[in-house]
Symmetry: C2
Subunit: 205 residues, 2 copies
């Protein structure tokens, strides 16, 4: 169908990307043919670089080309608070807010009996290991664990499991607030979210 | 913001693509980190291949790694009809229909006084050149020119210009039908489209 087999191949590869259909793939491919050659090659090189140079941080489990990663190494971020998330994308989401100056721990998923994800498959052992780290004075480096798994069945189950596991270790364990999202309309909020928002109400300061 | 500068760079390159915003770029980049390495590298190689091996067909002006291109060389398609389009993407659109077995001529744009596109910047000289080609018997190879420029101001102006230019050369010049698109709702059709649909009405066979 296409006038060039290389063009055809590129379109085929592009359609394998999430939410890119045949038409979008075609538009992207034609765009890559139109832009200056060096722009297209820069994208190709970026994809190659990411796959050849990016690995995982042995401490937090996030994507990183260094081990430990930038965030784990940053002395400005030694706040004692560790935000536990499911995936690297969640770290990005929190970093975008600019509100969290602590560190992260990426579990690599959530507990799911249906998908057969058990605690051993998540980076929970590594989290326990990090909790054992102490300062020169013998105090725990980590003082708070913020459970920031997704507010869905699997994420909630994972948060519950971790809170039970970490509770006895003497570290403060918190869970991010679940409630009505900013900018939303109460009338169209779902029952569970509204119930959580009520349950999690706080005194106005 | 990102845990890896390579990831950051890939996201930046992806946001330069049309209709890919920051969030989509991030999702695509994380996807490329998750899939098997060879899948990601295959995409990178496809982009490189397309830019290093795909050029233009000297005859029709479409993207091609060979000159003349597959379509121009295909003996099955020597029908004498040449479909004149603005861009390579338009060739793809017609090829997808599977209805046209002739050849194409890509103008590389449309006449536009506003954008400063004049006839000399389009591949009109090459079209006239193709019209001069004759068979062994001395007859014209090209018997019909189908004007398939876009149904907008610039495309219509280009079609009008070409019809005036080609008319005296004795070749049959046609214009694709403009009317109500299949699957649409007459109630919501715009005035110009409806007027064209009326104007272009044909006797029911």
């Amino acid at each position: 169908m296409y006038s060039s087999k290389y063009l055809e191949q590129l379109i085929e590869e592009l359609t394998k990307l999430p939410s890119i259909g045949q038409k979008s793939a075609q538009r992207l491919a034609l765009h890559l043919l139109r832009v200056p050659k060096e722009d297209a090659l820069r994208l190709a090189d970026s994809i190659r670089d990411v796959r050849e140079r990016v690995g995982f941080c042995g401490q937090c489990g996030n994507f990183s080309e260094e081990d430990p990663c930038r965030i784990c190494r940053d002395p400005q971020r030694a706040s004692g608070a560790v935000c536990v998330v499911e995936q690297p994308g969640d770290v990005l989401a929190f970093e975008r807010t600019g509100q969290f100056r602590g560190r992260y721990h990426v579990l690599g998923g959530a507990l799911s009996p249906l998908e057969g994800t058990s605690p051993e498959q998540l980076r929970i052992r590594e989290l326990l290991q990090r909790l054992r780290e102490t300062t020169a004075e013998g105090a725990s480096v980590i003082t708070e664990i913020i459970l920031a798994t997704n507010p869905n069945v699997n994420g909630e189950a994972t948060a519950l499991y971790l809170s039970k596991l970490l509770g006895p270790l003497g570290v403060k364990v918190t869970r991010i607030a679940r409630g009505v999202p900013m900018g939303s309309d109460l009338e169209y909020s779902d029952l569970v979210t509204l119930a959580r928002a009520l349950e999690g109400r706080r005194e106005v300061e």
